[in-house]
């Protein structure tokens, strides 16, 4: 049986090709909305004065939240909100179904409200198992003001053919 997706040299050549940067914003309202979304009641995500009293710059982003990509209907996906930007890999993946395969975040600093992050990403891995294609992208998030890398994230999506 033919594979639902073939890892050709052309596909391999796209590994590591960087996307154009995109701005991710971390604001007091976005941190609170995310914290509400996960049902957290920890005041470190809601109360600016409390967070400062604990030594943080502002309210702390819950783990897993790396900001909201700056959205415009011309440049971002209407459903997922992520940017359809220049550069990066272009794969003709099967789209009968789409599932989340895994998420991994490496932190080099806390992310707090008021931070603006600049993210770039690249294709890191593609694996085919039966009718499933596992696609892993790696993102690097830098603090826009300091240039410091604050987080790296590996996202695996499963495309069903």
């Amino acid at each position: 049986m033919a594979e639902v997706f073939e890892i050709t040299d052309e596909v391999k050549a796209q590994f590591g090709v960087e996307t154009a940067p995109w701005v991710y914003e971390v604001t007091t309202t976005s941190v609170r909305m995310y914290a509400r979304g996960i049902g957290s009641t920890d005041p470190i995500h809601y109360d600016v004065d409390f967070a400062k009293s604990q030594g943080f710059r502002s309210i702390v982003a819950p783990l897993g939240y790396v900001g909201t990509p700056a959205f415009s209907p011309e440049t971002n996906d209407a459903t997922f909100g992520f940017p359809r930007r220049q550069g990066g890999a272009r794969l003709n993946l099967p789209m009968k179904g789409l599932l989340d395969g895994g998420t991994e975040t490496e932190y080099f600093d806390y992310i707090c409200a008021g931070d603006t992050l600049v993210e770039t990403s690249h294709l890191a891995d593609v694996k085919v198992k039966g009718n499933m294609v596992f696609v892993t992208n790696e993102s690097v998030f830098k603090n826009q003001a300091t240039g410091q890398v604050v987080a790296k994230q590996r996202l695996t999506s499963i495309h069903l053919g």
């Binding site: 604001t27 007091t28 309202t29 909305m33 700056a70 415009s72 209907p73």
Partner: protein, 163 residues
Amino acid sequence: MTQAQNSVVTDEMRAAIGVEGSPATLEVEKTNCRMFARAVGHTDPIYYDEAAAKARGHRSIVAPPGFFGTPIFRPGAPPQGPTGGRGFNIPYKRVLNGGTDYEYFPDEDSVCAGDTITARTKITAFEETEGRLGPMLITKRETTYTNQRGKVVAKMYGTVIQY
């Protein structure tokens, strides 16, 4: 206001007319302006793109019509301001939003990302009618939005129907 025979308007409610509730702080940010604009389906870039907004003479991304920021949320905290008559012991089960009108008083600029708005709400009237759905209580509310420079930038006139 004439007193209906089976009026549900109590002395406590009458005393609440014109009394401002505790102020609510609303934060206007780029992210929540874009989210609101995305939800409505706006296409004007002044609601999404700071550079486009500045090119049109605004300080930053503009708050779309009807948006004055997101109230500061704290889990378990009581809602800020009067709740449009829902706080009183009204013998009606159903609540409808009757309508909303906005009036703008432009400052040197529209409401933009970076602004902090204070919203103060008061009940302006209770009206009772007998409609198709039976007896109704109509609560009229007015919310005043003041920006961080102390300027009133807008008012909202809202109607809540209980029956």
